[in-house]
């Protein structure tokens, strides 16, 4: 009996790790899927409309390159997203069995978004020189729109897990009854969470793309394309980074009421109290808070905009309903620290640019800060997801179903977890290698159409074609 119980616990951890890894991998790529088309749109539009033909040519060339890179990133994003959809069933069949029909509506709508995105990306990527230029540019609009809509739908599912709504329980049997799919989709948490994630996609993509150009400029490549690529991406990154703390604050407001155990872990609060302090640093050791630095009253203000806001304390949450406190807490603080640093980096860059103009691109430390900001943006993304997902434990659907009750009975999860670790690690390495290879070849020749090396003759043919056409 004891052995059986341990087995279940082991499978539970393996399933949670596998889901965490799959989501953590996909989420970075999905940022590109949502935000990169908007960045490309800005450049592509400039390429068609800018009065200076040199600027227009450079913009268009950048748009083409970004489109080609996005083909690689979006392919990996699409397939890793497909796998996530059946990992839900493979790893946590209990949740899908009980709530699959409650929360199916946003999934189905997301299917439409995913379809439209895939179709229009196919048209866009293959549409260069084949579609009329104006039509081709407009193909990006449904891609941008379906990216935003898809984000909303997927986050609606996650928000449901945090804030279950749209059904009731049969008092006698405990069965799910009175399902209202719209109420499930438009639960309390959805707007804040969806906006938070949507803006995050632009922050991550903007910072990462800008950092690529910052690295180039650190190596002395100070041509117009580098500056242009940097500024377009960093403008998106700046707007996103500056909006995010406010949105995050708004998102957190509902926690005191809806998910007190998560808020208690976020704030590392021992006892429930109003005028609660905001603690910087600190860990939960042997049932008490250690090493933190308290700022009086700020905790209540942060979580409820009021000194009277009661911040729930960990000690008031039953032990078997507490999330892993330190993981949740550290992830939450890392997210806030990284997000704050991103705001600082953006402010610093624009201040320097205002002061010294384009000479900012030769400033070693300013460029280094932007490059660090890219790492911080991914850290904030991953830490934020860790905080919200680990912070919901031990529940998979908060207050309604424990993760342990939803997890698969299969004993092979450690094996599939190992396979996924190897798979995603090698995908990351290979994707990086391929994209770096593309960048290297672009530096070596002006032509943006990279030949596809299927074989000696084909290579020759496509080279001929490039010279002719």
């Amino acid at each position: 009996m004891l052995i059986a119980a341990q087995d279940v616990a082991g499978e539970l951890m393996a399933a949670r790790y596998q889901m965490a890894l799959s989501l953590g991998f996909h989420i970075v790529l999905s940022c590109f899927g949502v935000a990169l088309p908007a960045l490309i749109y800005v450049l592509h539009r400039r390429g068609l409309k800018h009065p200076d033909p040199d600027v227009a040519a450079d913009s268009l060339a950048l748009a083409k390159k970004w489109a080609k890179v996005s083909a690689v990133l979006l392919a990996v994003g699409a397939v890793s997203g497909t796998v996530l959809s059946f990992e839900l069933g493979l790893l946590f069949p209990g949740m899908m069995e009980e709530f699959g029909d409650v929360i199916g509506l946003p999934f189905a709508l997301e299917g439409i978004a995913f379809f439209l995105e895939a179709v229009f990306i196919g048209i866009y990527l293959y549409g260069w020189d084949r579609l009329p230029p104006k039509v081709h540019l407009r193909v990006l609009i449904p891609i941008i729109g379906s990216g935003a809509f898809g984000t909303f739908c997927i986050i609606a599912v996650n928000a449901f897990m945090n804030n279950p709504a749209g059904f009731s329980r049969d008092p006698a049997t405990g069965d799910v009854i009175d399902v209202d799919p719209l109420a499930a989709m438009f639960n309390n948490a959805v707007w804040g969470q969806a906006l938070h994630m949507f803006v995050a996609t632009y922050a991550v993509t903007g910072f990462l793309v800008a950092a690529v150009y910052a690295v180039g400029m650190r190596k002395g490549r100070l041509d117009r394309r580098h500056k242009m690529g940097f500024l377009v991406a960093f403008t998106f990154a700046t707007v996103a980074a500056f909006s995010q703390p406010g949105i995050g604050h708004f998102t957190g407001q509902r926690l005191a009421e809806d998910q007190p155990s998560k808020l208690a872990a976020f704030e590392l609060a021992e006892e429930s109290e109003d005028r609660a302090p905001f603690t910087i640093g600190g860990l939960w050791i042997d049932g008490e808070k250690r090493f933190g630095f308290d700022i009086p009253w700020l905790g209540s203000i942060a979580s409820g905009n009021s000194l009277n806001q009661v911040v729930p304390g960990i000690n008031d949450i039953p032990e078997d309903e507490r999330p892993p406190i330190n993981v949740t807490r550290v992830a939450f603080q890392l997210m806030i620290a990284a997000g704050t640093a991103m705001v600082g980096i953006a402010a610093w860059f624009w201040w320097r640019r205002w002061r010294v103009g384009d000479a900012v691109f030769t400033e070693k430390w300013t460029l280094r800060a932007v490059i660090a900001g890219a790492g911080l943006s991914v850290l904030a993304l991953e830490a934020g997801w860790t905080a919200t997902e680990v912070g919901r434990q031990p529940w998979i659907v908060y207050g309604e179903m424990r993760t342990a009750d939803a997890v698969t009975q299969n004993s092979g999860v450690w094996i599939s977890l190992t396979a996924i670790v190897i798979l995603y690690a090698s995908m990351a390495v290979v994707a990086t290698k391929v994209i770096r290879g593309m960048a290297r070849r672009w530096r070596e020749s002006e032509d943006v159409d990279l030949p596809t090396p299927y074989g000696p003759s084909e290579l020759q043919r496509s080279t001929d074609q490039v010279e002719v056409g």
Binding site: A78, G100, D101, I112, A118, V176
Partner: protein
């Protein structure tokens, strides 16, 4: 016809679409695998890239469509399928990731050597993934996926019907893809390539037909419930499939590649619909009917509405994509443009 039937039919629309579009997509990888070394295979591989490059992502959204309908429409059946068929589903997942990633990586490889490595990953996973999908179908069709407790984690999907389903899936994909690739090569002006692929497709079609006969016998012995459904309601679809397959082979002999493709699509569509009709009203053959496991009614209505939305948004978009890809401007090869 109740709401549960409507939802089941809509889900099955996805199964048929995935079998045809996803099938041609997977099958292209099998052609890639058998195309020979870099010199011999260059033309086939370039054609595969042109044919499926713009459409492969959309083709695989059909799988997500099916899964969403399955868990929303029939949550307990979905959980049962995932529990019992954990291993093949995991392998399908690995296959899909490797295949899509490698296909994109190959296109932008820096050297022939790299392209060969990515290409072989793409090709092998293109063969393995439909194999496991066919085995999953075989497991459900032969009554090896129970509803209440998980079935055996290995033997549930390795029975005779699963083997037949897996092999037939791979061959069908190959035949289907061959007719697509032959027609595409012809349209892009590469008659020699069309001839080469068309001839091999004829052979693939003959083998597929022969294996389909063996599979039919396997069903009689191993999947009686499905077999009896196929004797009755499903019989007409089996006949349609056989006639369309024969028509396709005939057209291949006559080098009418585009016509052959139409025949192949009908043959595959009919056999898949035959499977659905044959096992109706069961969703897990021998264990659960559609009516037993249908999810909450309001969500099912929502699902039907979402399908309507998809019909007016996704279908025109898909149609535009296919029209563009099949237009002369898009299919021209570099040397004819």
């Amino acid at each position: 016809m109740g709401l549960s039937d409507v939802v089941a039919v809509l889900m099955f629309v996805g199964v048929v679409a995935y079998a045809i579009f996803g099938g041609a997509d997977f099958g292209s990888g099998v052609w890639d695998l058998t195309a020979g070394d870099a010199r011999q295979g260059a033309h086939v591989r370039a054609q595969i890239d042109r044919s499926i490059g713009p459409v492969w992502e959309a083709n695989h959204v059909w799988l997500i469509y099916i899964l969403v309908f399955l868990w929303t429409g029939f949550p307990t059946a979905f959980a049962a399928i995932m529990n019992t068929l954990f291993i093949p589903w995991m392998l399908v997942g690995l296959g899909i990731v490797l295949r899509g990633g490698a296909f994109a990586f190959r296109k932008f490889s820096s050297s022939l050597r790299e392209a060969q490595i990515h290409g072989s990953v793409f090709a092998v996973s293109s063969l393995v993934t439909p194999l496991f999908l066919g085995m999953i179908a075989g497991a459900i069709a032969s009554g090896r996926v129970p509803l209440d407790e998980p079935g055996n984690i290995w033997t549930s999907w390795t029975g005779p019907t699963s083997i037949a389903g897996g092999v037939l899936a791979v061959l069908t994909c190959t035949f289907l893809a061959g007719t697509f690739l032959a027609a595409d090569s012809e349209r892009s002006g590469n008659h020699a390539l069309a001839q080469d692929i068309g001839t091999k497709s004829f052979a693939a079609g003959i083998i597929t037909g022969a294996v389909a006969l063996v599979a039919a016998i396997t069903l009689e012995l191993d999947a009686e419930k499905l077999a009896s459904g196929l004797h009755g309601r499903g019989l007409v679809l089996i006949l349609i499939s056989a006639v369309a397959g024969g028509f396709s082979l005939l057209r291949l002999r006559q080098r009418r590649w585009a016509r052959a493709r139409v025949g192949a699509v009908i043959a595959v569509g009919a056999i898949v619909i035959g499977w659905g009709v044959g096992q109706y009203p069961a969703i897990l053959v021998g264990h659960a009917d559609i009516d037993d496991v249908i999810g909450a009614r309001p969500t099912q209505i929502g699902l039907v509405i979402v399908f309507g939305l998809a019909a007016v948004t996704v279908v025109p978009a898909l149609a535009w994509l296919f029209v563009l890809v099949n237009g002369t401007r898009w299919s021209a090869t570099p040397d004819t443009r």
